[in-house]
Structures are given as structure tokens and as C-alpha cells.
């Protein structure tokens, strides 16, 4: 019985997904996305010109370090967390805790 369920289950899931795909594609093409419509005028503009293509990366990284240093420090702590997580999961369980 669960064999049937798993076989028909994946076909049913496929069907649901195709329907969702068609629905959302229709939705995206019909209803226009309000891009930046609600942006307030108080927003400081730090735009980077797209023309000299090679310099975008350098200017974005300068923006990142000047304005988002706090989030970068947080991200460093997340990397430390991930390292500790992997150590906790992969260390052999002897008495050397």
C-alpha cells in the first residue's frame, strides 16, 4: 500500500507542481510587480553606474564594507557557528569530551 502511495504520490506531487508553475507564471505576467513604487524619497541614493562593467564589483565591495560592517561581523559569527556545528556532529564519541 505504501508502495502505491510513494509511486502515485510523486506523480501527484508533479501534477501539483506543474499546476502551481502555470498559475504563478500567469500571475507574474498578468499582474505587474510594483517595483520601487513604494520607495520613499527620503532614501539616500548610493547608486553605482553600470557602465564600466569591471568596476561594479569594487564599488559594491566598498559600499559593503562602509555600510554593512555590522552584518559582516554577524556573518563571521555564523561561520564560527557552522564550524562548531560540524565539529559537534563529526567528532567521535569517546570520553574525551
Amino acid at each position: 500500500m505504501s508502495d502505491n502511495l510513494s509511486r502515485y504520490g510523486s506523480y501527484a506531487a508533479f501534477l501539483v507542481l506543474v499546476v502551481m508553475l502555470l498559475l504563478f507564471s500567469w500571475f507574474t505576467t498578468e499582474v505587474s510587480f510594483p517595483a520601487f513604487e513604494f520607495a520613499s524619497d527620503l532614501l539616500p541614493r548610493h547608486l553605482v553606474p553600470a557602465e564600466p562593467f569591471d568596476e561594479i564589483a569594487e564599488r559594491v565591495s566598498r559600499f559593503l564594507w562602509e555600510n554593512r560592517a555590522q552584518d559582516l561581523t554577524g556573518q563571521a559569527f555564523v561561520i564560527v557557528t557552522a564550524i562548531l556545528c560540524c565539529m559537534a556532529l563529526l567528532k567521535p564519541e569517546e570520553a574525551g569530551g
Partner: protein
């Protein structure tokens, strides 16, 4: 102004492909790849929306994407470490065999 609609449709497509991968596939590593696809769809959305002013790029979205890529990598790393442990216990990477906890 760059046309926004093709990008949004491709983001929706990627997102649904990611959800399909999560629902249909039975190998654990493929589930983790599905999660990766979901995160990448959201990152693509950020980048596509940052180009909405003609000739200019908003660096805020790009910095968010750079940080989100690292965070997503951490999640996948921990997921793979957990998959190693599952293999040690169940001797298989088939998620349909993980049914011992019921009710």
C-alpha cells in the same frame, strides 16, 4: 529600464523547481541541493530587482546577496554533516527509510 518580467518568471520557475526537488527526490543529498536552489532563486530575485533604474545598479542588493550566499553555504555544510551521521545509522541515504518516528 531593464525588463523585469522575464527575471521574475525565471525566479518563480527556479523556486518551483526547488520545491519540486524537495518533494519528489528521495536521496538526501538531492534534498540539500533542492534547498540550495531555493536560496539561489531568492538571491536572483534580489539581483534582478536591483537593476531597475536605467544605467545604475543598487549596491545594497548585491551586498545582501553576497552575505546570503555564505549563510546558505553554512546551512548546507551542516546538512551534509548530518547526512553523514544518518548514513552511519541507517546505512542508506534514502529519506523514505527514515520513518521510524511516527505519530
Amino acid at each position: 529600464m531593464e525588463p523585469l518580467m522575464p527575471f521574475l518568471v525565471s525566479v518563480v520557475l527556479l523556486f518551483i523547481i526547488g520545491l519540486a526537488c524537495l518533494m519528489v527526490k528521495r536521496d538526501m543529498v538531492r534534498l540539500l541541493i533542492g534547498i540550495e536552489i531555493l536560496f539561489n532563486a531568492a538571491n536572483l530575485n534580489f539581483v534582478a530587482l536591483s537593476m531597475q533604474k536605467s544605467g545604475f545598479v543598487d549596491p545594497f542588493a548585491h551586498s545582501v546577496v553576497m552575505m546570503a550566499i555564505v549563510l546558505d553555504g553554512c546551512v548546507i555544510a551542516v546538512g551534509l554533516a548530518m547526512a553523514v551521521n544518518v548514513y552511519k545509522h541507517y546505512k542508506t541515504l534514502d529519506i523514505r527509510k527514515l520513518r521510524r518516528l511516527k505519530w
